[in-house]
């Protein structure tokens, strides 16, 4: 049992978050009642395939949705205060010192015509009203911390003069500049090669521990989740379908989608065997069927799945799955 001390209260608590998109098919719900919680010093992975709504969830949390999307329900509580209820100025005050995000494509996420020094100094200039000189000194410290060689000299360099891995380090440095309580990382390693990927994940882990941040890691990479996350929330078609501690979920998945994902990891397949995949594709957002969104691809599908939407229900302490048969043993896939 968790003690009621304040350090154990979640740093970030998302509850019933819904996001709707205006499309040519009308309003579609891209994120549907998503909820999860992360504590300081812990990492929660939001796991899912492209288009499942995980990035949009992150953007809704930090208030940076594209104009076609809007939050239609739910709450996002940062240390107890609902940030969705704040006005724009109120949210701006939190952006950086409390809540921060690392974007995926570091080349386009850095401003091509500003020096990296100016961009790294910006959080200090905005929130701490530092002088240009002091802010640049802070920026150099940050660059040093994230492992960029010769930081003072490189303050005046431009993003295109850095490698992909170094650019991602710069983005991370910018995001952690003001010691945020919560850090969202939206596929921070997608564009990088494997060795650099490992270094970046290691850097994020170090920073999390050193600054006691709560980290939400958005990814489609099962290996990254297994190695770097404490908890996982698996998303499918805009909903969380399974949550729990990573080890437990990976050892004994309770949702057929999670099971399918885990079975498709190549390492589990013997040499010469065909790679496993989940047949079919996720439903289009404007045509999500009644009942369970996974029904068309599910090996355990039954009549109830076509009529009733399974809610997220506890399957064991600290674990939940959104499946009518979450407690049943799986049919052989």
């Amino acid at each position: 049992m968790s003690s009621p001390s304040s350090s154990n209260a979640p740093a970030l608590e998302v509850d019933g978050l819904s996001v709707e998109l205006r499309t040519r098919h009308g309003e579609v719900r891209a994120v549907d009642g998503v909820g999860f919680a992360v504590r300081s010093g812990e990492t929660l992975a939001l796991l899912g395939e492209s288009g499942c709504g995980k990035s949009m969830t992150a953007q809704a949390i930090v208030g940076l949705l594209d104009p076609v999307a809007s939050v239609t329900g739910g709450s996002v509580r940062l240390a107890g205060t609902d940030v969705l209820a704040l006005d724009r100025a109120g949210r701006r005050k939190l952006a950086g010192p409390k809540l921060s995000i690392v974007f995926q494509d570091a080349l386009t996420a850095l401003n091509p015509v500003q020096t990296v020094g100016a961009q790294l100094a910006e959080p200090f200039r905005i929130h701490r009203k530092m002088s240009r000189k002091d802010a640049l000194a802070k920026a150099a410290e940050l660059m040093e911390r994230v492992g960029i060689p010769d930081p003072k000299a490189r303050l005046s360099a431009y993003p295109h003069q850095f490698s992909g891995g170094m650019r991602q380090r710069l983005l991370i440095a910018m995001a952690v500049a003001l010691d945020p309580d919560v850090l969202l990382a939206d596929e921070p390693t997608t564009a990088l090669d494997v060795t650099v990927q490992a270094q970046i994940m290691e850097l994020l882990r170090e920073l999390r521990t050193e600054r006691d941040m709560a980290v939400v890691l958005i990814t489609h990479d099962l290996a990254v989740v297994a190695e770097h996350a404490d908890h996982v929330a698996v998303m499918y078609a805009g909903r969380v379908v399974e949550t729990g501690p990573v080890q437990d979920v990976f050892a004994d998945p309770r949702h057929p989608y999670t099971r399918g994902l885990l079975a498709s990891v190549p390492a589990k397949v013997g040499r010469g065997e065909e790679l496993r995949s989940i047949k079919g594709g996720p439903p289009e957002l404007h045509a999500i069927p009644a009942g369970c969104a996974f029904q068309a691809r599910c090996p355990m599908v039954a009549d109830v799945c076509r009529t009733d939407h399974p809610g997220l229900a506890e399957t064991a302490p600290g674990r939940a799955a959104a499946c009518h048969f979450a407690t049943k043993e799986p049919a052989h896939v």
Partner: protein, 309 residues
């Protein structure tokens, strides 16, 4: 950077030679100055004297040689009309044109950046549609018509503004400035809007917002500088148009600039003045183009690297 400027100056030399030769030949196509300056009753002897006095009796190739020789000492000869130094006349007229062009572009750029950014901030909003409609109308407005209507309404009917001339207070600037302003302003609003729409949807804008940057900081600090290159290119081009194309406006409003001087010299077959005026304009336009390229380099380090490489 200096090598870049030097290279651009050298590469401007060829078109400049073409201009120098072209204006010499074209000027002489306007007709025989003797017919214009001498009375109808002039005797052949008077005609020959006139031609000899002004050097028009020499073979064309020799006239060209004299003209080219004079260029090196900036001596364009004397005006047929006034007997004054041609280069001096052109140089005295030029500031009036530059002032008008400079004031126009300053207003056009500042206005277009504000209105264009405002339109781009929320694409397809009412502000966007309104500015799109108005800028389209402005960009398509024929300036001579606008000038004449302006004179008719504000000078003749209402009597608020003078019909022409430069004598008086700031009110003499209003109609010439507005006439010159309307088209560049309309064009630039559309260019700024287009460039800002794409700059504002770039990921680095999201990142800036994620750092808690205020909206003015996002729009003018992050997006505008990325949107600047196309605006700069078009603005440079429009300025060129203003420097040599102020002919219509200067003629209508009697503005004593280089455009009016050129028209008068053509009508008066005042070859020396025409040559001087055209050459000064051409050199200015080359200089403007180099300046625009330098601004590009100043705005973006990637361009800077490319030109210094």
């Amino acid at each position: 950077m200096l090598t870049f400027v030097r290279r651009r100056i050298v590469s401007s030399a060829v078109p400049l030679v073409v201009v120098i030769l072209g204006v010499f030949c074209l000027a002489r196509l306007t007709g025989d100055p003797a017919k214009l300056y001498l009375p109808l009753s002039a005797t052949p002897q008077m005609r020959e004297d006139f031609l000899a006095r002004n050097g028009f009796d020499k073979p064309l190739i020799e006239q060209l040689w004299d003209y080219l020789e004079g260029l090196f000492t900036l001596d364009f000869g004397e005006s047929l009309r006034t007997g004054q130094d041609a280069a001096g006349m052109a140089l005295r007229a030029f500031p009036a044109t530059l002032q008008l062009a400079g004031a126009t572009m300053l207003l056009a750029i500042v206005g277009a950046v504000l209105i264009g950014s405002w339109a781009a901030y929320k694409p397809n909003s009412l502000a966007d549609r309104l500015s799109g409609l108005l800028s389209m109308a402005a960009a398509s407005m024929p300036d001579f018509w606008f000038a004449i209507m302006g004179v008719l309404v504000f000078a003749v009917t209402l009597g608020w503004l003078p019909t022409s001339g430069v004598v008086g207070g700031p009110e003499v600037w209003v109609l010439p400035l507005l006439t010159l302003l309307i088209r560049p302003f309309g064009v630039l609003v559309q260019v700024v809007r287009g460039a800002m729409v794409s700059a504002l949807s770039a990921p680095y804008v999201k990142v800036a917002r994620s750092k808690g940057a205020s909206e003015p900081r996002v729009v003018f600090g992050h997006a505008l500088r990325n949107a600047a290159p196309p605006v700069l290119t078009v603005a440079g081009d429009l300025t060129v148009g203003l420097v040599n194309g102020a002919v219509v406006v200067e003629t209508i409003f009697g503005w004593p600039g280089i455009g009016k001087l050129m028209i008068d010299s053509i009508l008066q077959r005042d070859f020396a003045v025409l040559q001087a005026a055209v050459l000064i304009t051409a050199v200015t336009i080359f200089a403007l183009n180099i300046l625009v390229d330098l601004c590009h380099a100043l705005l973006d380090s990637r361009v800077r690297q490319a030109v210094t490489a």
